[in-house]
C-alpha cells in the first residue's frame, strides 16, 4: 500500500482552461462578464436590452448556458448580436472547457469581440465555483425573489464584483427592502457595486451600460500599460 500526499485542486483542469481563456481574452481586448442568478431573475432580458443599446457602439456576443432549448441564444440573436447556446444536458453550471469548445465552434462569429456576455445556467450556487476566464462575475437578484437572499446564498454575492437588482419597476408591489439588501451585500463583499435596474422600463440601465463601457476601457488601458512595460 502506498500513500502519496498531493495538494491538487479538484478544479485544476477547469482552472487551466480558464487561464487559457483569460490570456486569449486579454490578447483580443475582450471584456468578459459571467452573469449568475436563479432562473427567472431576468438575465436574458437584461442582455437583450444591453444588445439593443450597445450593439451600434460595441461588438457584442453572447454565450447562453441552459439545460435545454436554444431559446435564450435565439432571443439575443433577435436582439441583433451573435450568440450561441451551450446545452449542459442536466449539469447545473457552465465550465471553462464548454466555453472553449463553444468559441472554437463559432470561430469568427465570436472572435475579437469588445464584450462577451456569458449567461450561466440559472442557479445561485454551483456556477459560483467555476472560473470561466471572465473579468468579473455579475450576480442578478430580482426584487420578487426576496430581500434575504444575499445572506442565504452568500458565496455568489461574496464573489460577484457587481450585483444587479432587477425588475425595479415591481418594487411598489413587493416587500423588498433595498437598503437591507445593500447592507447584506456590503457585509459579504465591501467592494461590490450594486445597481438597481428595470430592463423593461429602462430605469437604472444607463449605469449598467456605463459600467460595461468603463470596464472595457479600463481593461484595454491595463493591457496597453502591461504591453508597454515589457522590455523590447
Amino acid at each position: 500500500m502506498t500513500e502519496v500526499n498531493v495538494r491538487e485542486k479538484v478544479l485544476a483542469a477547469n482552472a487551466s482552461a480558464a487561464r487559457g481563456l483569460r490570456a486569449s481574452f486579454r490578447d483580443s481586448g475582450t471584456l468578459v462578464v459571467n452573469l449568475i442568478s436563479s432562473p427567472g431573475s431576468g438575465k436574458t432580458t437584461l442582455l437583450e436590452a444591453t444588445a439593443r443599446e450597445l450593439r451600434t457602439r460595441l461588438r457584442l456576443g453572447g454565450l447562453d448556458g441552459d439545460i435545454a432549448t436554444d431559446r435564450d441564444a435565439q432571443r439575443l440573436r433577435d436582439a441583433g448580436i451573435p450568440a450561441r447556446q451551450i446545452l449542459t444536458g442536466g449539469a447545473c453550471h457552465l465550465d471553462a472547457r464548454q466555453i472553449e469548445a463553444a468559441l472554437a465552434e463559432e470561430g469568427e462569429r465570436l472572435a475579437g469581440l469588445d464584450v462577451l456576455l456569458i449567461e450561466n445556467v440559472g442557479n445561485l450556487i454551483c456556477p459560483t465555483s467555476y472560473d470561466l476566464g471572465e473579468d468579473f462575475k455579475v450576480a442578478l437578484l430580482s426584487v420578487t425573489e426576496g430581500d434575504d437572499k444575499p445572506f442565504k446564498y452568500p458565496a455568489i454575492f461574496a464573489r460577484a464584483a457587481v450585483t444587479v437588482l432587477t425588475k425595479a419597476d415591481l418594487l411598489p408591489h413587493v416587500d423588498f427592502d433595498l437598503d437591507a439588501v445593500a447592507s447584506q451585500i456590503a457585509a459579504l463583499n465591501p467592494s461590490a457595486r450594486v445597481l438597481v435596474v428595470s430592463a423593461r422600463t429602462g430605469e437604472g440601465m444607463d449605469a449598467w451600460y456605463a459600467l460595461l463601457e468603463e470596464s472595457l476601457a479600463e481593461k484595454r488601458t491595463a493591457v496597453a500599460v502591461a504591453a508597454a512595460a515589457v522590455p523590447a
Partner: protein, 125 residues
C-alpha cells in the same frame, strides 16, 4: 448539485497519481472542502460511491476534511462563533462586518492505493 462532476474529477486526479507510480486500486482519497466551496460532503461522498462503483476502485473511501473560513473583526479580532452551516457576516460583539478569508479549499490532499500489477510481480519475484 455539481458534486457528481467533482467526484469524477477527484477520481481522475487520484487515478493519475496512482498510475504515475505504477499503483493499483485506490484504497482511499482524502479531500479538503472549504466552508465556501459550495459543496455538501454527504452529497460528494454519495457521488463518489456512484463514480467508483463498477470500476477497479470500487469500495475506495473518500475522506473529507472540512476547512473553515477564518472570520476577523477589525475591532474584536478573530471570531470563532459560526452561523449554522456557514460563517457569520457581522461581529456578534460589535455588529461590524466581518472579514472572511480562506475556506475556499477544494483540493485532493492524499491518495492511498494498493500495489499495481508490476508491483505484485516484483513482490513475487
Amino acid at each position: 448539485m455539481h458534486e457528481t462532476g467533482l467526484a469524477i474529477e477527484i477520481h481522475r486526479i487520484a487515478r493519475a497519481v496512482a498510475d504515475e507510480r505504477g499503483g493499483g486500486a485506490l484504497e482511499s482519497v482524502t479531500v479538503a472542502v472549504g466552508d465556501l466551496a459550495a459543496v455538501e460532503p454527504p452529497l460528494l461522498e454519495f457521488a463518489w460511491r456512484a463514480v467508483v462503483e463498477g470500476s477497479a476502485d470500487a469500495g475506495a473511501a473518500l475522506i473529507v476534511e472540512w476547512e473553515r473560513a477564518r472570520q476577523d473583526c477589525a475591532s474584536c479580532g478573530e471570531i470563532a462563533e459560526r452561523a449554522p452551516g456557514s460563517w457569520l457576516r457581522l461581529c456578534p460583539r460589535c455588529g461590524e462586518p466581518l472579514r472572511v478569508t480562506g475556506g475556499d479549499a477544494l483540493d485532493v490532499l492524499r491518495v492511498v492505493f494498493g500495489d499495481g500489477a508490476s508491483g505484485r510481480e516484483r513482490g513475487a519475484a
